[in-house]
Structure formats: C-alpha cells, structure tokens
Amino acid sequence: MDLTILGAATINGLLIGGIYTLVASGLTLIYGVLHIINFAHGSMLMLAMFGVYYLLTIFGIDPYMSLLIMVPAMYLLGFLLYKLLIGRMAHGKDENILLITLGLSILIENLALMFFKGNTRTISVSYSDMMVEVGPTLVSLPKIISFGAAMALCAALGLFIQHTDTGRAIRAVAKERVGARLVGINVDRIFAISYGMGLATLGAAACLLMPIFYVSPTTGHVFVMVAFTIVVLGGMGSFLGAVVGGLIVGLTESFGGLFLGESLGQIGISLIFILILLFRPSGLFGAKR
C-alpha cells in the first residue's frame, strides 16, 4: 500500500473522528449524569442542523456565527424540555426517560418530514470548497475547523465539569443523587442543566457540520449509532473517552474503507462495539460501576 494513501487515510480518519467526537460529547454528558441513553440525540442534531440551514438561507447568518444563536437556543430547548416534559413525565424512573426520549425522536422526525419534507439540503458558503494541503492530501478547511472546535469544546466541557461549582454539582449528582440532594444540591435543576448542555453541544455540532454535510429529516440516524459506539468505547460519561473513542472510530472507518472497501469497511465500527462490550464493558476511560 502506498504510504501517501495511508497518510491521507490517517488524516481523513482523524478529521471525521473529530466530528464524531462532537456529536458523542453531548451524549456522554447526558448519560454520565442522567444515566439514560438519550434516544432523541439524533433527531435533536437534525433539528439543530435545520436551524443552521434556515439561519443562513433566510437571515444570511454564517454557520459559524450561528454558534452564538444555536448553542444558547439548544441549551434553552434542552433545559425547558427536561423541566416541562421529561422531568415531569419520568416520575423518577430512568426507563421512563428512555421511553420519553424515544417518543420525542419519533415525534420530531415526523414533524420535520411534515414541515421540511424529505429532500436533502446543503449549504454553500464562501469557504465551503477551501482546501488546505496537509502532507499528501487536500483537506477541506471546514473539516479542519470542526476538528479543532471539537477538541476545544471537549476540553472546555472537561474544564467546566472539573473546576466550576455547577460542574462539581453535576459530578456529585452523577455519582450519588441522594447524597447530592442531602448536601443541598437541586438535583432536578442539575438534570435540566445537564440535558440542556448535552443539547447545546449538538447546537455547536450542527454549526460545524453544516458547511461539510447535508441535512434531511433522517440525518440524525447517520451519526447517532456511531455516537453510541463512541460513548461505549470511550466509557459512558467520560469526555476524554469521547475524544479518544471518536478518533479511534474515525480511524477504524477510514482504514476499514481503505482495506476492506467502503461498503464492508464500516464493519469495523460494529466489531469495536462488540469487542468492548465483551472485554471492557465500562469502556476505555469509564468508571467501573
């Protein structure tokens, strides 16, 4: 195999892994605190991507500028969704939250089909086709930006969780709900904040994804299974795990495509999922429960 192609495949794998990390970081945050799998993750990403699409096509707002709108908007949506719907209907049971998020995803996808129709939409901005020579290959500038932003976002989330009062409260709730309540932490509010933060990361992911990807009502499915694999691989609730997991999955997909063909190449992701569940169920960086 030509070293040039191997080098290019490595770069492509790392960059696409960065995008996966971005999508998985919100999922891992929500799991880490709420201990539930957010089935609405994919549909929320799709919703945010449509938001970015319309901000550009109707108001002319650049996708990267949209970060200033989409991140707080998605945080607010998540916070309110938890406060007004998920929290109220869960009745303290995790399995209820699971069903509510599943129901939400079905509802959102079908509403999107009704309002946006099933067509594929893309955006074109001045830097869409800008390429940067990285070693042997041409790399799309928006992909490099999204990779850098994904790493920065995960680092920022990690620092927030480690060094702020809210972060400490989130960690306390994640570790021991009853104990956290006993020391005066408003657990319900922390749940809502965590859900809001999880969705806010999707707002950021949508802004960084739109210049390089497409959106349709089923776009969420494209990323959500990969995101689940990353969270399981990296360890549920671990940001470092999301980064490492994202990069491993990106590289696996890239090399799988190179050696096994683009059709069979994706089998590597499923293999990782099975192997991790068999030999290290807590993931690479996950705490053993």
Binding site: D2, I5, A8, A9, N12, I16, N110, L113, M114, K117, G118, N119, T120, R121, T122, I123, S124, S128, D129, M131, T137, L138, S140, F213, Y214, S216, P217, T218, T219, H221, V222, F223, V226, E253, S254, G257, L258, G261, E262, S263, G265, Q266
Partner: protein, 405 residues
Amino acid sequence: MTTDAKLTRRLILQAGAASAALGSPGLLWAQSNSIKIGLIHPVSGGLAYSGGQGRLGCQMAIDAVNAAGGIKSMGGVKLEAALGDSQSRPEIGVAEVERLHQAGVSAYIGCFASAIALAATQAAAKYNTPFLIDVGVSDLIVSRGLKNVFRLAPGFGKCADDAIIALGEVNKAAGSVVKTAVLVHEESEFGTGTAKLLAGKLPSINVQVAEVIKHANPTRDFSNVALRIKGIKPDLVIMSNYQNEYVLLARTLHQQKVELAGMFSVLGGGFNYKLVKEQPQVAQYMMDFNHWFNPRDPKAIELKKKVEATGNLFTFEVYCGWNSVMVYADALERAKSADKDKAIAALESSRWSNHFMPYGETKFVNGQNEGGRAALLQATATDIDVVWPNQFASAKPIFPRPKLG
C-alpha cells in the same frame, strides 16, 4: 302543544320530502358522476418529498381535466382524487390499495418506489383495477403478466440502454476523450444493479471500466473514495447512489479537485434543481440520464410556471404524475365508461400523444409504453438542460468539462 306537535310533524314530513326530492338524488348524482382515482404515493417516511411531488402532479392534472369540462364522452363527469399514503413501505402500499378499493376507486396511480409498486400493483390485480405507474423503474413491474398495470415512463433497462447510446454519441462527438471509467455505487439493488448493467455495456462504446467502488448507506465521508479515484485517474466517474450520498460524493470530488472529462449518472438520486440551486459549482457540467420534459414544448413550459408559482419545483415526479392522469383520462374518453375492463382495453389500444415529454405516440406492450424514453441532462450553474436526443435538446453538451482552475 297540539299545534306545536302538528307543526313538528309537518316540518319532519317537509324535510323528508325535500330530502327525497333533492338531497338523495343529489348524493347519488355526486357518487355516479365522479370517477375516483386512488393516488398512492409515499407522502410520509423517507420518500416523502418525492411522494408529495407525485401527488401534486396528479392533483394538478385532475383539476385541469375537470376545469376543461371533465370526461366529455361521459357527459362531463369529473375526476376525483382519493388520497393514499404508502408511508414509504410496500406493506402499507398494499393496505392503501385495499382501503381505496373499498372507497370505490376506478383506477390507481403511484407509487414512486419500485418495491412499493411491485406489491401494490399485485394487490390491485385482484380487483382488475387499472394501475398506472407514474414513477417506478424496475422492469419487473411490467413483466409479471399483470393486465391491469401500465407505465408511461421508460423502465430501467431502456434507460440504461439509451444512456449508453447517449454517452457513446456525446463521447464520439467530443473525439472519444473518455476511455476509462470508475463506477461508484451504493450497496443496495438499485446501485449494484445499475453498476453491473453499465459495467457490462460500457465496453460496447469503447470505455473500459477501471474500477467499481461500492459504498454503504449511509456513507459519512467520501474522502478516501476521492483519493482512490485520483490515484486511478479515470476519464469519467459514473455514480449510482441515493440522494444523500450522491450529493456528498459529488461535493467531495469537486473539493478534492479530481480532474475528469465528466461525471455521469443514470437516474441519479440527487441530480435535480435543488442541487443546482444549492451547489451550483458542484453541479455545473454534471450529466444525468433521467426522466425529463421536452423543453421545446410550450405545454411543458406553461405547466412548469404553474408548478413554480405554487412554490414547488418542477421535478420529474410532478410531470410523470400529471401525464399518468392524462393518459387515463384519454382512455376514459375513448372507453366512454369507467368500467375496469373497458378502461384497460382503452389503455391497451392507447395512441395518446398530447403530452410534453420526449416520447413518441403512446403504445403499451405488456403494460410498458414503448414510446417512453428518458433524456441526457447536463447541469449549468443555474439550470438543467436537455442535451440528448438532439430533437429535444435545449443546449449542446459541454463535454469534456473544462479543466479545473
């Protein structure tokens, strides 16, 4: 009290008499004087956009027939749409056939997807109800001996044959610049079947297949595929994918500055006005062999304006639906009846030519219109032109495409 009671009885009698004299015959008149057509399209689910477009074309045609006086040979009887939604699933398509049969439809039109069409036509065959396929390219649809099934548009085999002829002629006119091709296809029956068929036919026009690359659905990144194509250095890339991957692959090849004489597809999933509008630089010079209207026909241009005035795009689903209604309306005119046997006989002998497609006179053989054909299209930065066959062309092909800057 007594007076009130008498008045009430009188009122009831009057109302009953009025109903008998006016109301009931009115209802009977409405039932017997409209011919219901069951429109079975996937207006929800993954194919919702295309299904909605197909339904739009059919409804506009029904309105046009009614506005022009209905079916004149039957005393101006009107057509009526009975709406169905297959939800992009074959089994629901079958259920909708049954439901609309109960509602008394005289014919069905649909189904956009071949898989849905195969199941739904079989269900309609039980009742011998005419079924017009507006879009659905599998040749199996019209090769199972079902007498009730008719398709105006060409099937997949005809499209592939004509696509090769068109590509051969365009290439020859350009000095046979294309000698090698790479085929990139999605992994399901549509992509695999197309790639296999084309790979077998390409040597007949002196184009050798350098490599066939299969990809999964969904594929999130085509960078490595672009890299492989760059390494192979083919003259032509032939794509056979659904909408999402079609757009993503075209965009990646453009970004990676892959030098090609052309990009070509047959029934390309993402080749449409939306691609031209949203990604003009990517779409420009791309070629697709697909269902299209005759751009020289004023009727087509008039309908295009009407559809665009509703805020919709004039996509092939719209005019394939429109033409299916029109060919059925023509059969009803000649049959002078909505009786299923008579309508089927009228469709079998159809010589309808009042369409705006690059077709000849309609002639159904085993349900397939032998006059149906698709056209070679090329995207410009702002529009889509027909570039083959010459008698319908709105522009000359730009082939090979200009070198990238």
